[in-house]
């Protein structure tokens, strides 16, 4: 049997083995759709977008266990079997089994963010409210085609228009999901052979709780400078989430290439580890 036929045979079985694949991606719809709808009527706020969508990091990591190695972390049900031992002892190449699982995982993680990009084509421009002149300069430099639309002397009305901004935000969300996916894949591969893998994973998972708090802190800080209170006008006041978004928007081709290289490298390493694992 050719490797491609093996792959499709195994991929087709994934929803039957793990019906969560069919339903769980829908969890992403609301957190991603809400900021997308908001930015149609109000200025886009990268930190707010990050805060709303960061809760998805929990789910991306949780999907990781569910799809990539449910057998290693257990499901609290002795009768339940993911079938890894069964598949490994059939006429199947181990790396193909891993690829099928990984494909199902990334489909579950990326399907909704990718589908939502299509919604950005109807109203593609977005506005960012920014009062700090230094920030404004950086924004205009970083975001291709962006321009100031508000009255130049009225600080409160400084709006920067970003052509195709919704599309950039949509691809940024996909990129963030992809990064979480790669990180999850990597962490699971590293800890899978360890004796205390279950505890290590859930500890790391618990640490993720801090992330929305960091984003919330970013928003608070962001609100200070957006309000234009006491920040020196010559200094930029971007939070790190905003800076990340700007870097992404500015260096998109380079970032996608770097991400693809990271994805392939980490995948090859993880696949090699999976093929050498014992069950």
């Amino acid at each position: 049997m050719t490797t491609s036929r093996q792959f499709w045979t195994l991929l087709k079985l994934q929803p039957a083995i793990n019906p969560a694949i069919l339903f769980m991606p829908l969890i992403f719809v609301f957190p991603l759709l809400m900021p997308m709808l908001m930015q149609r009527s109000t200025p886009y706020h990268p930190s707010l977008n990050s805060l709303i969508s960061t809760q998805n990091s929990f789910l991306v990591a949780f999907f990781g266990i569910l799809f990539l190695c449910p057998e290693l972390f257990g499901r609290g049900n002795a009768k339940w079997s993911s079938g890894v031992e069964f598949f490994v002892t059939r006429a199947i190449d181990r790396n193909i089994l891993y690829r099928a699982r990984l494909t199902a995982y990334y489909l579950a993680v990326l399907a909704i963010p990718v589908i939502l990009i299509f919604g950005t084509f109807t109203k593609s421009d977005i506005q960012i409210r920014e009062t700090n002149p230094a920030n404004q300069r950086v924004l205009i430099d970083a975001l291709p085609g962006s321009s100031q639309t508000g009255e130049e002397n009225a600080k409160e009305k400084s709006i920067i228009n970003i052509p195709n901004g919704s599309f950039v935000v949509g691809t940024y969300n996909v990129w963030i999901f992809l990064l979480w996916g790669i990180a999850t894949q990597f962490v699971i591969s590293v800890i899978s052979p360890l004796k205390y893998r279950k505890y290590i994973f859930w500890t790391l998972y618990g640490i993720l709780i801090a992330f929305p708090l960091i984003f919330a802190a970013s928003i608070m800080r962001s609100a200070v400078h957006s309000g234009g209170s006491k920040t020196p006008l010559a200094a930029t006041t971007f939070t790190w989430t905003e800076s990340l978004f700007l870097q992404f928007a500015h260096y998109q081709p380079f970032i996608w290439i770097a991400t693809a290289i990271a994805l392939i490298t980490i995948h090859l390493w993880c696949e090699r580890r999976f093929t050498r694992a014992e069950y």
């Binding site: 049997m1 036929r5 079997s81 069964f86 002892t89 059939r90 069950y279």
Partner: protein, 292 residues
């Protein structure tokens, strides 16, 4: 001719506890090897190494000359394995599992698989997890044999099965060997199954192989001997070929392998005592060797 199943000086431990200790044996083409041992003797560990699920810490295991851990899908087409656990994906339906076998194995005997499913009254629409334990084992057995493998590894195939199903499984194994010269290694606790079909028997105790030979040879060579009426008192020397010896004030009762140098008669003559030899059936031999 190379032995299709070969285990050479294999050792494997788990968390420092030795599960298999310098184990060596080979199974000849077209024969059935019955693997006996108490719980925790190392049978499943050995089978899992042969199936390529785990690796030995030292020594080597070979299936048709290849390392099962690194076998490709193409090589695995000739290896059938049935785990002691219900290892198939719980949510898959019987029909999907059969379809998977059909897709993966060019040698899949669909007519035979259908006959077997009908014989055991399987509905293709039932999920694997909803089958009874016995039916899960039967289905796992069908999935292992329907590709008509050259080498078949069965870990406790008859566990949780009724007597009729057990008999039918053994008949199917014999049919497989008759039809395609399959080599079979199976572990079991049910000694009558081994007596019925096995050409050769291996008894494992604490990870070490105590004996590995044909049943007839085993019964001919291992006896229980009682030495009594010693003229010069009980000897203190080690009894050659003895697996287990119990001494009291007047008697020595030992299970020993008879060799030309150490028959019950020669030992009785040497110690100037009388002897009484009792033939052992497989169960007696198994118990004696396992308790050793």
């Amino acid at each position: 001719m190379t032995a299709p199943i070969r285990v050479q000086d294999v050792t494997r431990s788990f968390d420092g506890a030795l599960a298999v200790d310098h184990l060596s044996f080979a199974v000849q083409p077209g024969s059935i090897y019955g693997f006996l041992g108490r719980n925790g003797a190392g049978k499943t560990t050995t089978l899992r190494m042969l199936a390529g699920l785990i690796r030995p810490h030292s020594g080597e295991v070979r299936i048709c000359g290849q390392d099962p851990f690194t076998m490709t899908a193409q090589d695995r087409q000739w290896l059938g394995y049935m785990s002691e656990k219900a290892d198939a994906p719980s949510r898959l339906k019987v029909g999907s599992l059969i379809q998977l076998g059909r897709d993966l194995y060019p040698t899949w005997d669909d007519a035979w698989a259908r006959d077997l499913l009908a014989k055991y009254s399987f509905s293709p629409h039932k999920r694997f997890s909803t089958l009874s334990q016995g039916n899960q084992r039967l289905l796992s057995f069908i999935l292992a044999i329907a590709p008509r493998p050259k080498v078949l590894l069965l870990d406790e195939p008859a566990a949780n099965l009724d007597v009729v199903a057990r008999r039918e499984i053994l008949d199917d194994i014999l049919m497989l060997i008759r039809d395609c010269g399959c080599t079979v290694l199976f572990s079991t606790h049910i000694l009558s199954d081994v007596e019925r079909v096995a050409d050769e028997i291996g008894i494992l105790a604490r990870g070490r192989l105590q004996v590995s030979e044909s049943l007839d040879s085993l019964k001919d060579s291992i006896h229980q001997v009682r030495f009594f009426d010693f003229l010069n008192g009980l000897p203190t020397e080690e009894i050659p070929g003895a697996f287990r010896t119990v001494r009291d004030r007047t008697d020595i009762v030992t299970t020993l392998r008879t060799t030309p140098d150490a028959t019950p008669e020669t030992l009785a003559a040497r110690w100037q005592c009388k002897q009484e030899t009792r033939s052992l059936n497989l169960e007696d031999i198994f118990v004696e060797l396992s308790r050793n």
